[in-house]
C-alpha cells in the first residue's frame, strides 16, 4: 500500500521543534522535582493543618502545587510537537532531581543503589533520545 502521497511533507523545522520539545520536558523535570519536595515539606507535621485556613496558609504546599501546574502546562506545550513515546519517559528524570535535591536539601544519606539508579536513568533517557523521529 502506498501511503506516501497522503503523508504531509515534513517541515524543515519539525526536527528542531521536536528537539526543543524534548529539551523543554527535560528542563521542566527539575520544576516537577521541586514541586514534589515542596509538597513533601508542606505535608510535614510542622506545616500541615487539614482545615481551610490551614491549607490556604501552607506556603510550601501551595508553592508545590503551583510548580506542578507550571510543569503540566510546559508538558502540554511540549506534547504539541513531540512524540508521546519520547516525552513521557523523559519525565523519569524527575527521580534523578528528587534524589539529588533530597541529598542536598533534606540531608538524606546517599547510597550505592540510589546513585546507581540515577546514573542508569540518565543513560536510559540518553539512549531513548537516539530513537526519536529525525
Amino acid at each position: 500500500m502506498n501511503t506516501i502521497s497522503t503523508k504531509p511533507t515534513p517541515q524543515p523545522n519539525a526536527a528542531s521543534a521536536r528537539r526543543k520539545s524534548a529539551t523543554i520536558v527535560a528542563a521542566c523535570t527539575l520544576l516537577g522535582a521541586v514541586a514534589q519536595l515542596l509538597i513533601k515539606v508542606g505535608m510535614s507535621p510542622a506545616h500541615f493543618d487539614p482545615s481551610v485556613v490551614g491549607l490556604l496558609s501552607d506556603v510550601p504546599l501551595i508553592a508545590g502545587y503551583s510548580c506542578y501546574g507550571l510543569f503540566t502546562i510546559a508538558m502540554v506545550l511540549a506534547l504539541r510537537e513531540g512524540e508521546l513515546s519520547m516525552m513521557y519517559p523523559i519525565i523519569s528524570l524527575t527521580y534523578v532531581w528528587v534524589t539529588i535535591l533530597s541529598y542536598w536539601l533534606l540531608k538524606e544519606t546517599p547510597n550505592l543503589y540510589k546513585n546507581l539508579g540515577i546514573v542508569t536513568i540518565v543513560i536510559g533517557v540518553g539512549v531513548l533520545g537516539r530513537g526519536g523521529k529525525k
Binding site: 503540566t72 508538558m75 502540554v76 506545550l77 506534547l79 504539541r80 512524540e83 508521546l84 513515546s85 519520547m86 513521557y88 519517559p89 523519569s92 527521580y95 534524589t99 547510597n111 550505592l112 543503589y113 540510589k114 546513585n115 546507581l116 539508579g117 540515577i118 546514573v119 542508569t120 536513568i121 540518565v122 543513560i123 536510559g124 533517557v125 540518553g126 539512549v127 531513548l128 533520545g129 537516539r130 530513537g131 526519536g132 523521529k133
Partner: protein, 117 residues
C-alpha cells in the same frame, strides 16, 4: 505478601495505568492547541489533567502501605503502557533505542526504589 501490600501494589499499579491514559488525553488536547489562549480550555486537556490528578491521589493512597523498593518500579510500568498507547493511538514508531532506553529507565527506577527502602 500481606493483604495490605497486595492492596498497595494494586493501587499503585492502577495509578500508573490511569496516569498513562492521562498522558494520551494531554497529547490529544495538545494537538488541538492554537495561538488562541482559550484553546487551552478543551475537553481533552481537562480530562487528561483530571486523570493525572486522579492518578496522583490513587498513588498517594497506595504508596503509604508498602516499601518503595516494590512500589516505585510499579509506577514506572506506566511508561510501558504509554509506549503501547503511543503506537496504538498516534502510530508513533517504536524502535530498539526506545525499548532499550525504557528498559534502562525501569532498571534505574528499580535501583532508586531499592535505595529508598
Amino acid at each position: 505478601m500481606t493483604p495490605l501490600l497486595v492492596k498497595s501494589m494494586l493501587l499503585v499499579f492502577g495509578a500508573s495505568v490511569v496516569g498513562s491514559f492521562g498522558a494520551v488525553f494531554l497529547k490529544l488536547g495538545a494537538m488541538r492547541l492554537n495561538k488562541n489562549l482559550l484553546s487551552f480550555v478543551n475537553v481533552r486537556l481537562i480530562f487528561g489533567v483530571t486523570l493525572y490528578l486522579a492518578s496522583s491521589v490513587i498513588y498517594a493512597l497506595g504508596v503509604k502501605g508498602g516499601p518503595l523498593s516494590v512500589l516505585y518500579p510499579l509506577v514506572s510500568l506506566g511508561y510501558i503502557f504509554t509506549l503501547l498507547w503511543s503506537k496504538l493511538f498516534f502510530n508513533e514508531a517504536l524502535n530498539g533505542y526506545k525499548f532499550a532506553g525504557l528498559g534502562l529507565i525501569l532498571l534505574g527506577v528499580f535501583f532508586v526504589g531499592l535505595g529508598s527502602a
